[in-house]
């Protein structure tokens, strides 16, 4: 019971300061949670994790010291069940406990390691689906992230006897709460984790935690800004400007990793773990050794402890320079292998690509060179006044080289990368401007950052550098960027960029232009994500026909693929995913039709891709069927008493394929109206189709199209065994008896160059053929249910030039209902309700066309 004196005694100034600090941190965390929810930042698990961290922080303030680590563990377990559910959560804890139990077995280190390797091998078999794993696919990345390195570090630290292996500390280490939000996680050493606990002033620790969380949020939003607006695909790289944009943006995608790491370690600070920074101004490194020490610092420490020192001390008798060089080389070799090891656990395969080896090899060589120079020099003495130009220029050079190397790491093949580099020869204004701005920015920023501290020691500067001030300013800036009022007063271009970072939306371009960087792909299977299914994203990524899907037939003509005729699925048992799917004897997802048109009947043929085919709905639920029913019940006019709307939709068909199909069989049915469909991604998608036509040496029956292929060297494309870029290099290789092939990147880039001309020609041909057959041609702009509908109709100039009328249904799905009108978050095709929406709109737009036809004399 409090004494009266205590009740009335005012809190002293340090207590008041402490209370203010706690309240400020709680207010900041609340705002951060709001920001994460508003922007839908990163993985869906981030918001619950931050909310739990906020609750945990408050509990920590009031809990006695002895209960704080157990409370962190209990909170982490709550997070596991909250995010993964009871079943998967229980499996995660059970498998984790088993591995922890092995780490703590009361036997010698040798036997513990042996049992751990055995357990790892068993899990590896499950990871490659060589056995049944009772937990869901989504659990693997987090399970892997928690246990792929930590047992190694835990056993190493505890067996030396240097650090205590208490039960709660162990559980806290393995089941860290922030790990639930990120599958990519810093490699935290157990010894550092344990020794960092409450190693500093409590207020200093949590203020730094809040600062790092807010910094992480800023990194993730910058990442989204780049991803949504600036990242381009290797096949789009044509000039120096495109190349600089690709290289810089690909490297800057690492902001996602640094953002996630900052948040992860920031959250741990809230619970008293005063761990070091994970990344420190790595974009402004003034050399490669400097960058190796600034970027993913935990990895550098891990490698230094586990590989560098043990190797060096074993061979130091051969001399310090040679021993250091060899040890550094071994570090980079192990880093390469462990990145593949990490890939294996997160994604399920073990890639050993030549360009990965080259990336780590060249980076290793550059670091060794830097290390040898450092060994022979004294430490840099900072000048007491002025900015150091030498530091700035070195930073710009380092940034340029790392962007160059990073692009090698990020493209699918070495030959494709070499082909892409040839774009540097096409110097353009964009390239010069981008290069100048990038280098000047890095130079000046690094000079400012590395300037002597007296340069920015004004009172205002000192205050602005305080962690609570920096974190508050960051959070407020992010909140202001979200306000519509702010977007209203900035220039439209800036407002559009600000809008693009508001939420990670499904948009067609991002699904086609997928960057292929190492970390991007590891992050693609984020924590708590759904497993990949047969969604559209997967189809866009790969041209191979889906496994176990017997709906398709490959064809050795311009169609390339089509629907198999006379299907009745899933009755035939080879397609088990969704609703009934059947085709007629012509390979159309429609009822049977005779080629001869019945009397008094108007025929409308609709060509298009998966949306027209009705991917995501039943046979009876396609918009084509719905429009046909409504026309027959409501639209009879003139001599037309019946309507037949015919579905010629085939998954992923481009305009050129639609034309080929119309020519091949569409006109056999004497159509009165022919509709071609154009999608928002048509311009990005068609090059892939053209490159496949070229790769498969498809005979092109249309002379103008054939000329385009010949002009770009896409006829008789080399299909040898060695990918070699540039025709002149391949020619030389043939002289040496090699069998060269054109690299995929070159093939795609060449295809991209003729893609627009080829499609423009197809529109004109469509108009001509329709006129020749007395049919009314129409262009239907229709897409799947993206969060952001395409703004412009691709090829509109060519469509207009061909005199084709357009029905624009890009915005047919009401914005508020879009998530309810698609199959799922991963399959953005319209579902049955979505098809009703399309049918209603299309019916209304078709009525004037039907009326015009009715006004015409007699049916064909």
């Amino acid at each position: 019971m409090l004494t009266p004196a205590a009740e009335i005694a005012p809190p002293n100034s340090s207590t008041r300061r402490a209370l203010f600090g706690y309240f400020l941190a709680i207010a900041q965390l609340t705002l951060i949670i709001g920001v994460v929810a508003h922007y839908r930042i990163d993985s869906p698990a981030l918001n619950p994790v931050l909310t739990l961290a906020g609750i945990g922080f408050i509990l920590r303030i009031i809990a006695p010291a002895a209960y704080r680590v157990p409370a962190f563990v209990i909170l982490s377990f709550c997070g596991i069940f909250l995010i993964f559910g009871l079943r998967d959560g229980a499996w995660l804890i059970a498998v984790g406990m088993l591995l922890i139990g092995v780490c703590r077995l009361p036997v010698s280190l040798f036997y513990r390691v042996l049992v751990l390797i055995f357990c790892g091998a068993l899990l590896a078999l499950l990871r490659v689906e060589y056995g049944y794993s009772p937990w869901s696919y989504a659990l693997w990345p987090v399970l892997a992230s928690m246990f792929m390195f930590r047992p190694m570090l835990y056993v190493r630290a505890t067996s030396s006897g240097r650090v205590d292996a208490g039960e709660w500390d162990t559980l806290a280490y393995f089941f860290m709460l922030p790990n639930l939000a990120f599958s990519l996680f810093p490699v935290i050493d157990y010894q550092a984790f344990r020794q960092s606990y409450s190693s500093k002033n409590e207020r200093e620790i949590y203020q730094r935690g809040v600062l790092w969380i807010s910094r992480g949020i800023v990194h993730l939003l910058l990442y989204r800004l780049i991803y949504a607006n600036f990242i381009n695909d290797p096949t789009e790289v044509v000039t120096l400007g495109d190349l600089v944009q690709f290289m810089v943006c690909t490297f800057l995608l690492y902001l996602r990793v640094s953002g996630q790491f900052h948040i992860a370690v920031g959250v741990l600070h809230l619970f008293g773990f005063s761990l070091p920074e994970t990344n420190r101004l790595y974009l402004l490194s003034s050399g490669f050794t400097d960058m190796w020490r600034r970027m993913n610092i935990y990895w550098t420490d891990f490698m230094t402890k586990v590989v560098f020192y043990p190797t060096y001390f074993r061979i130091k008798r051969i001399g310090p320079a040679l021993a250091t060089s060899i040890s550094t080389g071994v570090v980079f070799l192990v880093t390469w292998l462990l990145h593949s090891y990490q890939w294996f656990w997160l994604r399920g395969d073990f890639p050993l690509r030549l360009q990965d080896g080259l990336f780590w090899g060249v980076l290793g060589a550059l670091v060794i060179r830097g290390v040898l120079r450092e060994m022979n020099s004294e430490p840099a003495r900072k000048s007491s006044s002025g900015w150091n130009w030498s530091v700035g220029i070195r930073a710009a050079a380092t940034f340029s080289v790392i962007c160059f190397l990073w692009s090698l790491w990020s493209v699918p093949s070495l030959a494709g990368w070499a082909w892409m580099l040839s774009a540097a020869l096409k110097v353009d204004e964009k390239g010069i401007v981008l290069l100048s701005i990038t280098l000047a920015t890095v130079t000046l920023l690094s000079m400012w950052v590395h300037a002597p501290s007296t340069q920015h020691e004004s009172r205002l500067m000192r205050i602005s550098l305080l962690p609570p001030v920096r974190s508050t300013v960051s959070i407020l800036v992010v909140i202001m960027a979200a306000l519509p009022a702010v977007r209203g007063i900035v220039p439209p271009a800036v407002a559009s960029v600000l809008k693009s970072v508001q939420a990670e939306k499904l948009n067609p371009r991002n699904n086609v232009v997928q960057s292929r960087g190492y970390y991007e792909q590891l992050n693609a299977i984020g924590a708590a994500d759904e497993p990949e299914e047969g969604g559209s994203e997967r189809k866009i990524e790969s041209w191979s026909l889906p496994k176990n899907d017997c709906r398709w037939q490959l064809q050795q003509n311009l169609l390339m693929w089509g629907l198999a005729p006379s299907l009745d699925l899933p009755r035939q048992g080879c397609w088990t995913q969704r609703a009934k799917f059947s085709t007629n004897s012509w390979g159309m997802r429609d009822k049977e039709y005779a080629t001869a048109k019945p009397p008094d009947t108007m025929r409308v043929e609709i060509f298009g891709a998966s949306q027209v085919m009705g991917e995501g709905t039943t046979d009876a639920g396609t918009f084509e069927q719905l429009v046909e029913q409504r026309l027959n019940s409501e639209a009879a006019c003139g001599s037309y008493r019946h309507f037949q709307v015919m579905n010629f939709g085939v998954d992923a068909y481009t305009v050129i394929q639609q034309l080929a199909l119309l020519d091949d069989r569409g006109f056999n049915f004497s159509p009165d109206v022919v509709i071609f469909t154009v999608r928002g991604i048509e311009r990005l998608w068609t090059p892939y189709y053209i490159s496949e036509v070229a790769r498969h040496h498809i005979e092109i029956p249309y002379q103008p199209l054939k000329v385009l292929f010949q002009k770009e060297g896409l006829e008789n494309v080399d299909q040898g065994t060695v990918a070699i870029p540039f025709e002149s290099w391949r020619k030389a290789a043939r002289r040496f008896g090699l069998e060269p092939s054109m690299p995929a990147a070159e093939l795609n880039a060449r295809a991209a160059r003729i893609s627009d001309d080829a499609t423009d020609w197809a529109w004109g041909r469509f108009a001509q053929l329709s006129a020749a057959h007395g049919a009314t041609p129409i262009v239907l702009a229709l897409d799947v249910v993206w969060d952001e509908a395409p703004e412009q109709i691709p090829y509109s100039a060519a469509i207009q030039a061909a005199g084709l009328p357009v029905i624009n249904l890009f915005n047919v799905y009401p914005e508020a209902q879009r998530s309810a009108l698609r199959v799922s978050a991963l399959d953005v095709h319209a579902n049955e309700a979505g098809h009703h929406v399309i049918a209603d709109a299309l019916y209304q737009k078709l009525l004037p066309v039907i009326a015009a036809k009715c006004a015409d004399a007699t049916p064909h």
Binding site: Q191, T304, K305, Y309, T324, V371, E378, K382, P452
Partner: protein, 85 residues
């Protein structure tokens, strides 16, 4: 033997730290956290200690944090030289 810390401090100030870092290295200053020691400078320090005090240092010593401050270095050097005696 009494001036181990002084000898090591002098070496650090002259060979390993920049002017800013060299200011106020106390006996218990964490040399890694203060940015004075990283992997390469640690090896330089190891080489210096081995030559100056005629001792042998292993990777485990670094791992154990025996080079983390002037005070810990002194303890390590004393322990190794006593072992020899």
């Amino acid at each position: 033997m009494n001036d181990i810390k002084q000898t090591v401090r002098r070496y650090i100030v002259e060979h390993l730290s920049s002017a800013d870092e060299a200011k106020g290295i106390a006996d218990d200053t964490d040399l890694k956290e203060s940015g004075i020691l990283e992997s390469l400078s640690t090896l330089k320090l190891v080489s210096f200690l081995e030559k100056t005090f005629n001792i042998e240092i292993q990777a485990d010593d670094i791992d154990a944090g025996d080079l983390s401050s002037l005070a810990r270095i002194e303890t390590l050097v004393k322990a190794r030289t006593n072992m020899k005696l």
